[in-house]
Amino acid sequence: MSKPLIHRSPMPGLGLSMGITLTMLSLVVLLPIGALLLKGANYGLAGIWETVNRERVWSALFLSFRLSLFAALFNLIFGVMLAWVLVRYRFPGRRILDAAVDLPFALPTAVAGISLTALYAPNGAFGSLAAEIGWKIAYTQWGIFIALVFVGLPFVTRTVQPVVEEIEREVEEASATLGASRMHTIRHVILPMLMPAALTGFALALARAVGEYGSVIFIAGNIPLVTEIAPLLIIIQLEEFNYDAAAAIGIAMLLISFAMLLVINLIQVWSRRRIGYV
């Protein structure tokens, strides 16, 4: 006996809610993504490979991925620390800090982009300080890194915060009664408990950074092979009406996103299976 596709239910509105959901989802999300995949299918794997396998494209994809990885790693460490401070400590200004964590979610990327550029440009507030020690930030990979740290900042903190809240005090106390120092407890009890959530946040920050455009292009300098990110390359191809090439790069990026989505889901399945919670 096979399970029915939809169980009978006394609830009203099945047809209407299902209709709206599936129609809008298809129109807004699925069909457009399908159009990209179809374009890729027509173009063929060989064609995609030919487009992607060029130095300029490789270096853009590699740059986007590498700097996103560094930025996400920074956010992993800073985000876990921030989550801990915000949940565990009471100090003046805590609420403001907590609210500030969300600013990168709320601030439009173009605004962040020009603002960071103004700060880190050679004549900007931070840029001029750095210039004194001969450190150039804006229009180099450092600038891209900083912009990617900015956009990824909230993810780890916001996924880890609820988990810190749920750690039972007794578990930490148990560790102490067994003779463990506070450092030992943090390393062997607390951090492992935060790890699944922290990794989820890390993957989200990474995925966001790889696809980021608005906050990066102003500060990046956009020099081919050096500071040109993958999303910008798509836009350049589109402006030259190279739809095939744009689609090829787009598919490569889509595959990276899907891979990361898969990783996030695997982390969650793994942690649920192993320790019974996410």
Binding site: L5, I6, H7, S9, P10, M11, P12, L14, L16, S17, I20, T21, M24, V28, V29, L30, P32, L36, F78, M81, V85, L86, Y89, R95, A100, V101, D102, L103, A106, L107, P108, T109, A110, V111, S115, L116, A118, F126, F150, L153, Q161, P162, E172, A176, R182, A207, G211, E212, Y213, G214, P231, I234, I235, L238, A246, A247, G250, L254, S257, M260
Partner: protein, 287 residues
């Protein structure tokens, strides 16, 4: 757990004060550099030539057109996404069907797609070169480089916001109240308006708030589909880009300041909602 007069002892679950204050200091320093500095820089740059100049630049035709277009886009795409969010949350939480987890993954998909790729998808689907797009252009309804394309792009990138907020809340609330109302003879719509909606209104508002902030600020996807035609398809963020690249710094940052104020207002309302109605918001926002 502060016990008065116990300064001598440290609880087993606390870090030494030196560690604690170092971490707090790092948190302040990190956020000051990463978040507060860019925030302040927007206003400093906007007011670089005085408040009058900043306000005057906002009254320019470019800026006014951009503001009008962005408001129109948000006024259309946000309610549509709210409608979708409510319908999807109802479908997912009130019925049992196969493939539910997969459907949720699909709804979340836009969060993991680059906005530029999202714009690209819409260009490929509805651009003049595509079958559908070509036909629509022939009928006089262009999508790409026109308002419908911008709306679609905006909806794409903000698609999951409302549904994501509502689904956990409605799962937690269960179906018992709706079932009770049905047994009392209420019609489907009546159940929705008088039982469900009052229970989810704060979560709905929360989702709409975030959706709106993102809709007004979306740049990457809109940059791809809009063509950035002045006075026609240039939204606030794309106008900021154009002004900035023309070295009209004050004008660019004045518009940016408008969006920044919107972001701050959004955060303020969001924080208020979290303080007042934490119990009626999705679990992962509770803190």
């Amino acid at each position: 757990m502060s016990d008065t007069g116990q300064i001598r002892f440290r609880a087993a679950t606390e870090e030494p004060p030196a560690t604690r204050w170092t971490l707090i200091g790092l948190a302040f320093a990190g956020l000051a550099i990463l978040v507060f500095a860019p925030l302040i820089a927007v206003f400093v740059e906007a007011l670089a030539e005085g408040a009058i100049e900043a306000v005057r630049s906002l009254a320019s035709p470019d800026a006014r057109d951009a503001i009008r277009l962005t408001l129109t886009i948000a006024a259309i795409s946000v309610p549509l996404n709210a409608l979708f969010g409510v319908a999807a949350a109802w479908f997912i939480t009130k019925f049992d069907f196969r493939g539910k987890a997969f459907l949720i993954t699909l709804i979340d998909l836009p969060f993991s797609v680059s906005p530029v790729v999202a714009g690209l998808c819409i260009v490929l689907m509805f651009g003049a070169n595509s079958a559908i797009g070509g036909w629509l252009v022939a009928q006089g309804y262009p999508i790409v480089f026109a308002m419908p394309g911008i709306i679609l792009a905006t909806m794409f990138v903000t698609f999951p916001f409302v549904a994501r907020e509502l689904i956990p809340v409605m799962i937690e609330q269960g179906r018992a109240e709706e079932e009770a109302a049905l047994t009392l003879g209420a019609s489907g719509w009546r159940v929705f308006w008088t039982v469900t909606l009052p229970n989810i209104r704060w979560a709905l508002l929360y989702g709409v708030l975030l959706c709106n902030a993102r809709a007004m600020g979306e740049f990457g996807a809109v940059a791809v589909v809009s063509g950035k035609i002045r006075g026609e398809t240039a939204t606030i963020p794309t106008t900021i880009e154009m002004l900035y690249q023309e070295y009209l710094s004050v004008a660019a940052f004045s518009l940016a300041a408008v969006l920044t104020l919107l972001a701050l207002l959004t955060l303020l309302l969001k924080t208020l909602l979290e303080l007042r109605h934490a119990d009626q918001l999705a679990a992962n926002h509770r803190h």
